[in-house]
Amino acid sequence: MMKRRVFLRNTLATGAAVVAANAGLLTPTTVLANWNKDAFSAKSTDNALSSLYGSASTAESGDIQLKAPAIAENGAVTPVTVDASGMSGVESIAILASKNPIPLVCTYAFSGAAIGYASTRIKMGETMNVIAVVKAGGKLYKAQQEVKVTIGGCGG
């Protein structure tokens, strides 16, 4: 009798694993363990920051140089540069777009020879704030800038 129960339990467990694997196939996301899935599926900037750093409280800092265009004609390629090389002990930089479905765009963790500087191009669906969050010396600092996205190519 016991053997039969064990057999049943095992089959059930395997079944559940197969279902999980199928769900995973539909949305292929997790390949690398160190990719922060929680932060990259958070629907608000605060939630994303909490998942990333364990806190969403940031202080505005003038030492962060955030370069983004005031008006982006094509929201799909918005150049963004974050320069925090003037700050000491920069550990990481995160770039967020406040109104995107998933606000967190990218994170950079620095070690060794790296300097607190990152430049990239991001997608933005509408006019919104670009937020740069810099972790330096264990504290979170922020700089933000509004980018107007002109949709439809008429220039507004």
């Binding site: 949305t27 292929p28 996301t29 390949v31 690398l32 160190n34 990719w35 922060n36 990259f40 799909a76 390629v77 918005t78 150049p79 540069t81 090389s85 777009a97 995107n100 479905p101 998933i102 967190l104 765009v105 990218c106 994170t107 950079y108 963790a109 620095f110 070690s111 060794g112 020879a113 790296a114 300097i115 500087y117 990152a118 430049s119 990239t120 191009r121 991001i122 997608k123």
Partner: protein, 103 residues
Amino acid sequence: MSIKIRMRGKAVNGVAEVKALIKHPMESGVRMNKKTGKPFPALFINNVEVTVNGAKAVDSQWSGAVSANPYMAIQVKAKAGDEIALNLTDNTGESGSETITLK
């Protein structure tokens, strides 16, 4: 087929700016396919790592909101002759790597 990367870097006064252009569709998984009414499946680079002479310098994580054919620039403390390597992986496990020697 591995992901194609073009990388340049030049050291000036002990600081090198390394720029990379990557060929990748960066499909976020949110954009709708109007013909089928379902979103295009997500396909984007999520991990990028840069090393200087084999030592890890930048560990970057991306979402699908980084533009298609991504451009990335970072700065590291390095001198001419140092070796910069870039390794990346997308969410399907496809990977790419490129190594340059700084000028």
